[in-house]
Symmetry: C2
Subunit: 233 residues, 2 copies
């Protein structure tokens, strides 16, 4: 019998919908009953992760713990967290419960490491400044023996602004689309071969970027992992 | 403080994602924290509602009760059910818990009744045969003093097949799109002024129908109700 999946979500809600949809679309199913039992705690009241890390704002940890405990009590077999930056508190969250939490950041790094022979150049990380400052992806890539390229400081500023706009619902009309397109084109001419969406808001912009760089999407990689783990014997 | 919303989902998962997305998009929000706390039990193992009604298949009631009880224990303030046909068991579900369950079928009927002066002709119900056989919408419309048009038997067959295809993921490529388009065009020439999606799968086809009939969508109406009730003082 398939396992029950728990998702800590709401960071933001559109990114949670994206993960939910990617899990449903990755599930081999022809009827409702073939799909996975998924319990989602869409809890946007979890304090902002970026501000907690960069500006010593209120810690999201107590509400994150509340959420994983709610999911564990509800009977899920494992948990995933639909926010890359929140993985800064990963160890504390895993300690708070008995069911396993699968780590999106290390899943994405291993996934790319398994395909590194196909890559003829560096991968550019598209994440929040907070995720970059905490070295989440740099450490996970180093553990897999992979290098990772980071945006220039002014490019990073644009990305962080774009993420805030996504959180207020701006996708096709996101005011930073043109600047991100230019930035990706510039990196492509300099030898970058792929981008990694290491922020769950970033893949929401992928349909509007029209660039030919290979795209890795931590959300989609996590969705595949969820389906694999939930349906494993 | 906003109320916490519970959603009984998985019937099917794409329809649950649609309701979730419509709630998020109807919420006035510029940051994550402005959004609603929503707990979703996406439980596709609930036995098929249509087969239970039409073919005396396994009753979905025990698992539906399980789901509303799970949400109540998790602390939601009210519950909605992301499946019209499942509303056949509405009274039993409401009896099983103390928190209120808002009824999508009566919400949709009241919403249309409030706008009935704008309608110069009948509304056509697009729902499963099971929903039609149980008179859920006919009774709700009669209670509001509204008439409701039903598809011809052969049209209804097409609709039920289309819904099964949606449940296996067929949207833009749904093999029944052309027949549904023809059916709507025929009803429009005969005086129908609007359609009501009274099955949570049906609005998933709306982007591909290209017809000019006014569209009422029970899922979207429920999403508005959810936001209103959750943010009421």
């Amino acid at each position: 019998m398939a396992k029950t999946v728990g998702i800590v979500g709401g960071m933001g809600p559109l990114a949670t919908i994206d993960l939910f949809r990617k899990i449903v679309e990755s599930t081999p199913a022809t009827t409702d009953q073939d799909h996975l039992h998924i319990i989602i705690d869409n809890y946007p009241q979890i304090p902002p992760r970026v501000e907690a890390i960069l500006e010593r704002g209120e810690s999201p940890l107590p509400k994150l713990v509340e959420s994983v405990c709610l999911l564990e009590r509800a009977g899920v077999d494992f948990i995933v967290i639909a926010c890359n930056t929140a993985h800064y508190w990963f160890t504390d969250l895993q300690k708070a419960i008995r069911v396993p939490v699968y780590n999106m950041v290390s899943c994405a790094a291993s996934y790319i490491a398994e395909r590194s022979e196909e890559l003829s150049g560096p991968v550019l990380l598209l994440a929040t400044l907070a995720t970059i400052r905490t070295n989440l992806y740099q450490d996970a890539f180093a553990a897999c023996g992979l290098g990772l390229q980071l945006p220039e400081p002014q490019e990073q500023e644009v990305l962080d602004k774009a993420v805030r706009e996504i959180k207020s619902g701006e996708l096709a009309q996101n005011p930073y689309l043109a600047e991100i397109r230019l930035m990706l084109d510039k990196h492509a001419t300099e030898g970058t071969v792929a981008v990694l969406a290491g922020c769950t808001e970033v893949p929401l912009l992928f349909p509007y970027l029209g660039n030919t760089l290979k795209r890795f999407d931590a959300t989609a990689i996590l969705a595949e992992k969820v389906v694999k783990e939930a349906t494993a014997e």
